[in-house]
Amino acid sequence: MTKLKEAKLKKMQEKVMQESHTKANLTPNKKQPNKPLEEKRSVKVMSNIRPSEKEAFIALIGRESESNVLRDLVLKFIERKGEL
């Protein structure tokens, strides 16, 4: 192999390695499958309690929202299969 060919091969090898981590997008228009929609928190659980009970509850939850605290209680109740 002549010197020029060696130089050309070196250049080509460099290009091959330079592109070694670049992938062609061979399906550019293919839609990615939609992710299944996450279930939203859209259903309410309601209970009427006495004003004093409500006050005591608010005093305990601090800066957390009522909804989040009640949700945690419901989830724990479900996890423990109905046992408080």
């Binding site: 060919k5 050309k8 091969l9 250049k11 080509m12 090898q13 290009k15 091959v16 390695m17 330079q18 592109e19 070694s20 981590h21 670049t22 992938k23 062609a24 997008n25 061979l26 399906t27 550019p28 228009n29 293919k30």
Partner: protein, 206 residues
């Protein structure tokens, strides 16, 4: 005998010899093949005229590939982006990536296409064709320099004026050789043995 499925593609690179190769395989194989293309309009030969009625399937991008998959199938895909390409690459037994090297840009794009195709199916043959003989060794050595391509088989079909007969007259090199003794002598020196080596690698009887 199990059916054989082959994809011939080099991404969106056109004029690499996909249809020349696909049609030569289709026409020369002893076992019948179905011919599936995604692009009839830009094929280098008139496939409607040359492929037997019932063997040719045209599924443009955006349509469902709906056919009997129990047959031997050649998928001549490319020249245009196709959303189903990776699915086809995963399905087939083997992928042939033809490259007609004119400049480093074909080499760079081929490397990118190989990086994508090899993830879908590692059973790949790179076919260097219609390339200046002095560049063939360089392209081979450059591709083999990448350790990820070490397992890829590289085969060669030399540049030949006889290959043009396919686009001009619809004749494969084997048909040209059958028609003329002088042409047969010349073709039997290099071109036909190179095609035979490819067929042997693909386990296709001719």
């Amino acid at each position: 005998m199990t059916n054989k499925t082959i994809l011939i593609n080099n991404g969106n690179l056109g004029r690499m010899g996909k249809t020349m190769l696909s049609y030569t395989l289709y026409k020369t194989s002893k076992a019948p093949f179905k011919y599936v293309t995604n692009d009839l309009e830009n094929a280098s030969i008139d496939l409607v005229k040359n492929v037997k009625n019932g063997d040719l399937f045209h599924f443009p991008n955006g349509t469902e590939i709906d056919m009997d998959f129990e047959d031997n199938i050649i998928f001549d895909f490319g020249g245009k982006p196709d959303d189903r390409l990776i699915d086809v690459a995963e399905f087939v037994d083997m992928i042939i990536v033809p490259i007609s090297y004119q400049s480093d840009s074909e080499l760079e794009l081929t490397v990118r296409n190989l990086n994508t195709l090899i993830e879908a199916n590692p059973n790949i043959v790179v076919l260097i064709n219609n390339t200046d003989p002095s560049d063939i060794k360089l392209v081979t050595a450059a591709l083999k320099f990448n350790p990820a391509f070490k397992s890829i088989k590289i085969l060669i079909i030399n540049h030949s004026k006889y290959i043009r007969r396919l686009a001009n007259d619809g004749l494969t090199v084997f048909e040209v050789a059958e028609r003329n003794k002088g042409d047969a002598t010349r073709l039997n020196k290099t071109i036909i043995p190179q095609f035979k080596e490819l067929f042997k690698h693909l386990e296709i009887n001719i």
